[in-house]
Amino acid sequence: MTEHAGLRHVRYVLSDNPVTAGSFALFGLFLVLALVGPWIAPFDPLETDPSKVLQPPSAQHWFGTDQLGRDILSRVIVATGLDFGMALAAVLLSFGIGCALGACAGYYGGWIDRVVSRLADTIMAFPLFVLAMAIVAALGNTVENIIYATAIINLPFYIRVARSEVNVRRNAGFVEAARLAGNTEARILAFHLFPNILPPVMVQISLNMGWAILNAAGLSFIGLGVRPPQPEWGIMVAEGASYMISGEWWVSFFPGVVLMLAVFCFNLLGDGLRDMIDPRRRT
């Protein structure tokens, strides 16, 4: 398929499915917020104001103010960068390590395959969120360790996809041809087989991003990783939790809704990507 036809296919899928187009737009908006958030936030996200404690949403403070008088809209905007950054770093880490391990396991087989598969099975033997909790507890309570923990619990998915995709192609005609042409095994793996596992993995990445954001926010909600006063969606929901049942709903509500939208956006994006990549949908 030429580049031109590829673009036309993307446009076809987008026009066919307005929800996917909408999720792309929403993703763009989040990306802008993540990149330039600190510069477009109307207030300083850390500035407290005792005279404006727990004010409901108003023209000046669209999302209201929290228990220290900080502007919630500004905090939600600035938090986008941290939440997206944590999820992206975690997903890229597990993508890189998981694909490398899985591809080697699928290509070479033997003891490498046994060790890698056993590793994936062992990770999957834990309830994943609980394992993430344990890893953060053991490594120390920092943002980096939240990223490592999220990356580790996502590893098995990438290992399995990469392993099975490489395994079915290890003796395919084009691999034999590459081998006869004198390519080294490592080169075949990196330049001939690896591009083939990218499409299914891209879908996995998008679905994983949503899950990674939820996971990181969940860990901060129970008090791990991100420390106050740093704005982060999960911790903001946690800070507002006790006000929720006394009627000050906005403290938790807005960060919660934005978090939900972000996850929703990635899930729709993953479904849309799958439609684009799945050849059965191509006409």
Partner: protein, 337 residues
């Protein structure tokens, strides 16, 4: 059949070994020096060394590992520094609260998800189908702690029909006599319907929160599996032979569609056990998850390790039960053996 069960049990052993190794490694990777932590800030160097020796931390790593496995075999998960209690006792006391919540949540989720998935699959393109798709996509996107808080806000603060979201029982009641540890069962055994409803009322919101979360993957899988089975040859043959629609749907299609759904239950349990931790924090539920979270915040690590180990073993057991359930509903599995 017995041979099959034995084989499945054997297959779980590597997983258990893996779990023990991982929890051991996580124990050793802890920040700081446990000996200095137990000795307290005012301890002298000799006192710290003495405690190090008594904890077995002066031994090589493999020696420590053997000690660790020995402790586990004796059921010794260590002492909680913050409560001064044996971790195992505390976990066993709190486990029923967590299990009651999780099992009931799964039951409610299945009760909604299976009919929803079947309806969506038998009427593709209808409003039920669209509702199913909306529910499944929304359900996986909702942060579980946020759903819980929203439900508490709406049903407790706005409508005033739910009890305050704190704990298993309103403080005006005393818990039923301990038999199973499940308040709903124990209150019935004690013949106290008022207590049963009081405990039930406390459970509605957390159970609903958990069910909404778990609903999504279950309904999605049921719908996909039903769609696949309904378009298969044997269903067409059954229809062509003039069997009634209900017989085709429930005896032919449903039973076969359940196989992939049962397989996904493993993933569902993983999500449920993880999210129960968060739910227990939201609803101040005195289960093992909130025990671990409280301990974690106070840097009291023995309960956290015990909790992780118990959760992982629970998960392995659940997966084992899923495997057995699978062989029960799919006779082909045991024939293949």
């Amino acid at each position: 059949m017995l041979r099959l069960i034995g084989k499945r049990l054997l297959a779980a052993i590597p997983n258990v070994i893996g779990i023990v190794i991982v929890t051991f490694v996580l124990t050793r990777a802890l920040p700081g020096d446990p000996a200095a932590f137990y000795a307290g800030p005012a301890a002298t160097q000799e006192a710290v060394e003495q405690i190090r020796a008594s904890l077995g931390l002066d031994q090589p790593l493999w020696g420590q590992f053997i000690d660790y496995v020995g402790d586990l075999a004796r059921g010794d998960l260590g002492l909680s520094v913050s409560t001064g209690q044996q971790v195992l006792d505390e976990i066993l006391r709190r486990l029923p609260a967590s299990l009651e919540l999780t099992l009931l949540g799964l039951l409610v989720a299945c009760a909604i998800a299976l009919p929803l998935g079947i309806l969506a699959a038998t009427r593709p393109g209808s409003w039920v189908d669209h509702a199913c798709r909306l529910v499944t996509t929304l359900g996986v996107s909702l942060p579980i702690f946020f759903t819980g808080l929203l439900l508490a806000y709406v049903f407790y603060y706005l409508l005033g029909i739910a009890p305050p979201p704190v704990g298993r029982l309103d403080s005006m009641y005393s818990p039923p006599a301990h038999v199973t540890g499940f308040y709903l069962v124990d209150s019935l055994l004690a013949g106290d319907p008022e207590l049963f409803f009081a405990a039930g009322k406390q459970m509605v919101l957390p159970v609903l929160t958990l069910a909404i979360f778990v609903l999504a993957p279950l309904a999605r899988m049921t719908r996909a599996a039903m769609l696949g089975v309904l378009s298969s040859d044997f269903v067409r043959t059954a229809r062509a032979s003039g069997l009634s629609a209900a017989t085709v749907l429930y005896r032919y299609a449903f039973r076969n569609a359940m196989l992939p759904v049962v397989t996904t239950l493993g993933m569902v349990f993983s999500f449920m056990l993880g999210s129960s931790v968060v739910i227990e924090k939201v609803f101040a539920w005195p289960g093992i998850g909130s025990f671990a979270v409280d301990a974690l915040v106070q840097s009291d690590y023995a309960p956290v390790q015990g909790f992780v180990l118990v959760m992982a073993l629970l998960f392995v057991t659940l997966n084992l039960m899923i495997d057995l359930l699978y062989t029960l509903i799919d006779p082909r599995v045991s024939i293949d053996d």
